[in-house]
Assembly symmetry: C2
Homo-oligomer: 297 residues x 2
């Protein structure tokens, strides 16, 4: 039987803490805003201590964190949030501190890598060893599994910051990334849509030209991910991707851009199953954190 | 002691076959042009049979192949060259046939993945588990290791075909990729340099503006690879990269494009050791094939 574990989806805006053994057995959950590190951490610790009193021992903790983070277990800064611009959180001993105070083994990784793990365990990536999980919302971030393990390398992917072709005649919007102006995130995150069209993204009707442009930018990035690491599936989540009309437009543009070059039935014939929403919906992060904790228990 | 094995660097232009145990112990080597599959394969088979008579049993065979290929050992088409435009070679049972006729266990992968393996074993990527090997020549191809294993996924990477920003005011050259026009390969392979500047690349002087543009395109692609899979090092080989003046220009442009976003000393302080030529020079392919064979022996 799966162990009782704790999971945290640690976002820049809110924390979601849960205790359970899997998607069908979440015993308790708590959501609260991300304030300063001390207050936020104490709130998370208090939640897990209380759950331990009610439900018995928790075996391990998994954290899906906003970043950048240090996800390397053998690093002295494992479990840290590193160079984030979020006030108060830069170079914060976050995961290691919670795990120390609770006395629990820790799994700690980026929000997107952990969401990918959740999708691999219980969602749209079951049975795959190499796939992409991309979130498109306030920012754009990507992670996934390659050869069955989460993507780390030098640090971890920062897929939102790839450069893509930007036709300034078609789209004079300069982009809003403070580091790169018109990288993917700068052009296609939710706030960029709002700034470009002077309307919050969720208020734009499904047939608005905003979505055609959005699909184009996302398709350009997806094609680059396909060429770079050959994912077996691409899972797109996040607030912007709740605009489901984007999926068929993105699929069509990905096929058009690849132009038959990558000869795989997954791309040529079954693209509806290749570019998909998360099987766990907006629960991929917190459930991934539970899956990550299970791996430490 | 390492076993005596055979390696083939199977290029679209020439084959290099070698027998040995490693870089310091190559017992014999043969080079011949790539003609039609039957003739080329028979020549390779004859070479290895002759070497077995002289040097004793060969334990396994490793092949670094031009592609696209099927590199999945559990696939019925493992060892095939699949959708190549090279006349006569499309859907060719290549690796499996040689290994069958010689009665040897087979390691078979893309030229760049195998070159990466050679660099990991004996070259510039020793001790790394996640890195890029990119070749820039007649075409552009990339591979590498992620989490210690060669990059496969859906098929294998096709890194030359990423889309990058192309400023047509600065560079009106339309690109020459038959599938994508101005993808990276279309803009930056050796023949694109020649076609754009009406001069063979190797005849352009080191201070020609061609190299500034070339460095820019390669830097844009490298930045995307960094953001996508976070390599611990990027090794650039192939004929175009013999223009060593490109390295400092590429490094400078990569730093400028990332603009401090990826906070790693490897990028911020030690980029001279981060973007490097192959440690094995133009021997990475054939030596990688020997390394791959060792893994099967």
């Amino acid at each position: 039987m799966a162990s009782l574990v704790g999971g945290i989806e640690a976002g820049g805006t809110k924390f979601v803490c849960a205790v359970g053994t899997g998607p069908d057995d979440i015993r308790a959950e708590s959501r609260f805003p991300t304030t300063d590190p001390d207050e936020t951490l104490l709130q998370a610790i208090a939640f897990f201590r209380e759950q331990q009193m009610h439900h018995g021992p928790i075996r391990a903790l998994g954290i899906a964190s906003f970043g950048p983070v240090d996800p390397h277990p053998d690093s002295p800064r494992f479990g840290y949030i590193t160079s984030t611009p979020k006030p108060g959180w830069k170079d914060t001993d976050f995961g290691a501190r919670i795990s120390r105070e609770l006395g629990l083994p820790l799994g700690f990784d980026t929000d997107v890598n952990v969401a990918a793990l959740g999708e691999a365990r219980w969602g749209a990536a079951q049975g795959l060893d190499t796939f992409l999980y991309l979130t498109v919302g306030t920012g754009i971030g990507g992670g996934g599994l390659v050869n069955g393990r989460m993507m780390h390398g030098l640090i971890h992917p920062e897929m939102g910051h790839v450069r893509i072709p930007h036709d300034r005649d078609e789209d004079p919007y300069p982009g809003r990334c403070p580091f790169h102006d018109d990288c993917l995130e700068g052009l296609a995150c939710g706030p960029a849509i709002e700034e470009r069209w002077k309307t919050p993204a969720r208020e734009l009707p499904p047939d608005h030209p905003a979505w055609v442009l959005e699909a184009k930018y996302l398709a350009l990035a997806l094609v680059n991910y396909v060429c770079t690491f050959s994912p077996q599936r691409m899972i797109l989540g996040g607030g912007v991707m709740e605009q489901l009309q984007l999926f068929p437009m993105i699929r069509q543009q990905v096929q058009q851009l690849l132009n038959g070059y990558v000869q795989s039935p997954a791309l040529l014939e079954r693209i509806d199953e290749y570019i998909v929403p998360p099987g766990l919906g907006n629960r991929a992060g917190v459930l991934g954190a539970i899956a990550l904790a299970q791996d430490q228990a």
